[in-house]
């Protein structure tokens, strides 16, 4: 395990190497992919990327929470949360790659 953190820059570098575009345009395309995915999710749509995984938006009901430090009750308002379910392919590759 190398335990590095990749960022947008590494993704745009990969796009730059793969397709003959400028670094600048590669970065914009990475941004554009994330923006389109975010916009769809904000509209309440699920984003399903075959052999990668599914991002789905779920509604959470209101509930009474508790501040674990003070024990004080606090209302938690209804909210929308995003969940990601990795594809079998992703799970298998991540499991295989990290096996020692």
């Amino acid at each position: 395990m190398s335990n590095k953190t990749l960022t947008r820059m590494d993704l745009s570098e990969a796009v730059f190497r793969e397709v003959g575009l400028s670094r600048n345009e590669s970065a914009q395309l990475v941004e554009s992919v994330l923006a389109h995915m975010s916009d769809a999710l904000v509209k309440g749509q699920n984003v399903k990327i075959s052999s990668f995984g599914t991002f789905s938006v779920r509604d959470k009901a209101a509930r009474v929470g508790r501040n674990p430090k003070t024990g004080q009750e606090v209302p938690i308002h209804p909210r929308r949360v995003l969940t990601f379910r990795p594809s079998h392919l992703m799970k298998d590759r991540v499991a295989a790659g990290n096996k020692q």
């Binding site: 590095k4 990749l6 960022t7 793969e18 397709v19 992919v33 075959s50 991002f55 991540v94 990290n98």
Partner: protein
Amino acid sequence: MIRSELIQRIADDNPHLYQRDVERIVNTIFEEIIEAMSRGDRVELRGFGAFSVKKRDARTGRNPRTGESVEVEEKHVPFFKTGKLLRDRLNGK
């Protein structure tokens, strides 16, 4: 939205690019994320979210049908945490 719709939207925004290049671009992004996690790396995309790998310890599981115990080996699973900006946008903030 599915992968092909995402590709189509990017293609519509970029009429100067060939469709097959847009496909390669989109596929490269997802492929790079999977490869990073396969090496045990994190991928942090500010405002969107972060992909990381979590370790699951070995445990004694049970076959739910037969009740038989089975040894489950330690394994690593992909994990995604939503970014703050996207979480706020989902809630209309």
